[in-house]
Amino acid sequence: MLELIFFSLLNGVVTGLLLFMLASGLTLIFSMMGVLNFAHASFYMLGAYFAYTISIYLGFWVGLIVAPILVGLLGAVVERYGLRYVHRWGHVAELIFTFGLAFLIEEVVQFIWGKDTKAYHEPEILQFPLFTFFGQNFPAYKAFMLVISIGIFILLLLILTRSRVGLIIQAAIHKPNMTAMLGHNVPLVFMGVFGVGCALAGLAGVIAGPALGTFPGMAFVLGSIVFVIVVVGGLGSLTGAFVASLLIGLLQTFAIALDYSVNDLLQLFNISFDADSALRDLWTLSLPQIAPILPYLLLILILIFRPTGLFGNRET
């Protein structure tokens, strides 16, 4: 049991931090521009595919640096020539634009790289178990993912709270019109934030590709969960996104690890149900079976009881 808890904790944190890298970009874009970027996870996928192709010729480490930059540039171009143009027809048009973009990117990826899973592997110097606990390995690559994610979090926090750019971004998040009145080039800030957000998603893809598989469905698998994090954490709050990511990561991991059902809970109170009861299926549903819906349940509860999210301070 100790083994299960220890590893679930570790895995939960790794998953959570990976989600954070995606969510941090999305929450900044969402709060600043009001655009729910449906294509955000697609940039994550592009990061993985770019890095895969680069790693074939130049190795993993070059891909780690170059792929996120490429994805970031692509994101900036999409903002400058796509979103900004569509913006004049309002938020709905922007929403539909990113929605279409997500499909477009998925089809293009399938067109270029094919439909099968790509053999994108960890670099060889990270292919060893970091430590073994109760006979179970913890791969060094997972630790590497941990370090990178924490590094990104600290870096982002420092930029946003300690630098001049961060101040302007913070201002643009809360009062975009006022910031523009004060003479700051808000569209440029938007483009920069969108690009950096996409680059972060790309970086997440680069390091997640070898661990979680590089295939055309990878954006779809992660896409919806990132929105949950943004809403649960609260708009525009980096700390909120961080806490919510860890929360969702741990929630998902532990839900799979612990084989409990409503029945077990009821038995604690000495309530038992007839085996023929019509509701039998409901009581015997185990935690791993409902694990995939738990984040969405949390999303609904948060929207009902605390619409601003855990750390949010803006209503819209």
Binding site: D116, T117, G135, Q136, P139, A211, V221, I256
Partner: protein, 416 residues
């Protein structure tokens, strides 16, 4: 004016007769499978294998009945049962009497019903259905019909072979079953529990888990659970990205127990699993690859790789289906599906891998040896995905299907 009309008519007639003359020389076989969409990788690979087998094993050997050639025509069903029925109608409209399909038992169930209905209503325009890969046992049991022939071993036969191997290994005391949450995953789990219970009641099932299909992004929590359960063997029916993810997580967690699978090879899976699954991942399947069972097969495989370097012969049964069809036509000297179907019933055939296979007459299930192979990079002559890794056959069970007699198959044969 009149002259012009005459010329036009005679030209049309000439064109028509030329067309029919050509049509008489080819026997079209409709290949109804996903040729686009998320499952296209498997569908198009099968299509290539069918075209290659028809070409190499039938047409280049002189065709059937005095030089008629096989032509495989692709029909994209996007893996939807509804779309498959539309494509079936199209194929019948083009005068095709033989159809092949394999991906998804859901599609096969729809097609076998539609073919039966069509044949009941149109006894002069019959259609024969060759199922090369849909393994739902029901297709040859309660849902069997005279026009359906299955060339793959059904899920129960494979599970029977697989549990034979597990039962013979005394070091296995605990087994973990994990699969995708849908009909096939559940059938695999139910089969494993049933056969292990009969053969080795002392084996403890330490986990029987279903996960959402195609939605799990990280299999590490499952691997942690499997490790904590101290299972000596793992059984899974997973395929596609779910198989890759599971194999990777198991490798990363350092689990050394063997993983028995149905579909952990080819179409990019072998390459992606690579070193992390070496000597661990095992596959239960028909046909053998390494060591190549015969020189004839080796030459056939190499010729295929030369023509399609990016693809692999992942479904050898496709070749068996086409050659058996050709043999049935030669035997009856007819392309009438009713006569061909009668000849296929009970037909014996020695494959180019040297295996004797029999089409069981009672339920139209092909009886064939089943192999258990291991994923490795040693002693690989014919690799998969050009990765250096491939399957080496460890054990071949010759009569895994004999233990599983047809059950509930009550076939109506056409009166002749």
């Amino acid at each position: 004016m009149k002259l012009k009309t005459t010329i036009l008519i005679s030209a049309a007639v000439a064109a028509l007769t030329a067309f029919t003359a050509q049509a008489a020389d080819t026997i079209k076989i409709a290949f109804i499978d996903p040729l686009s969409g998320p499952f296209a990788a498997t569908g198009t690979s099968g299509f290539k294998q069918a075209q290659f087998a028809a070409d190499m094993l039938v047409n280049q050997k002189g065709g059937v009945i005095d030089g008629k050639m096989f032509e495989i025509v692709g029909f994209d069903n996007k893996i939807s049962p509804k779309e498959s029925l539309v494509q079936l109608k199209r194929a019948i409209g083009e005068g095709i009497h033989y159809i092949m399909q394999g991906n998804s038992s859901g599609v096969a169930n729809a097609l076998t019903d539609a073919v039966k209905k069509h044949n009941d209503r149109n006894p002069d325009d019959l259609v024969l259905f060759m199922n090369y890969s849909a393994v739902d046992p029901a297709l040859t049991n309660e849902k069997c019909n005279f026009w359906h022939f299955r060339f793959d071993a059904n899920a129960n036969i494979k599970m029977n072979a697989l549990t034979d191997v597990i039962a013979a290994d005394d070091s296995i005391k605990k087994v973990y079953i994990i699969g995708q949450d849908y009909s096939f995953g559940k059938a695999v789990a139910a089969g494993a529990v049933k056969y292990l219970g009969e053969k080795r009641p002392d084996i403890e099932i330490v986990g029987n888990e279903l996960h959402p299909i195609g939605k799990v992004k990280d299999f590490t929590p499952y691997a942690t659970k499997i490790r904590a359960s101290e299972a000596d063997a793992i059984i899974t029916g997973n395929w596609g990205a779910d198989m890759v993810g599971l194999a990777k997580a198991i490798g990363d967690a350092g689990i050394e127990s063997p993983v028995y699978t149905y579909y952990a090879a080819n179409d990019g899976i072998t390459k992606t699993i690579g070193a992390s699954g070496k000597d661990k991942i095992r596959l239960v399947h028909e046909g053998r690859v390494n060591p190549p069972p015969t020189d004839e097969y080796k030459a056939y495989h190499m010729a295929f790789k030369e023509k399609y370097p990016e693809a692999d012969i992942s479904q050898f049964r496709i070749a068996n289906a086409l050659v058996m069809l050709a043999n049935a036509m030669n035997q009856t000297k007819s392309t009438d599906p009713a006569k061909v179907a009668m000849a296929l019933e009970g037909m014996e055939y020695t494959t180019i891998q040297g295996d004797k296979v029999v089409m069981r007459a009672e339920d139209h299930q092909l009886m064939q040896p089943i192999s258990i192979s291991v994923h490795t990079d040693e002693n690989i002559i014919l690799d998969a995905d050009n990765s250096g890794y491939g399957l080496v056959t460890e054990k071949t069970i010759s009569a895994a299907d004999a233990d599983i007699p047809p059950s509930g198959c009550n076939m109506e044969r056409p009166a002749s």
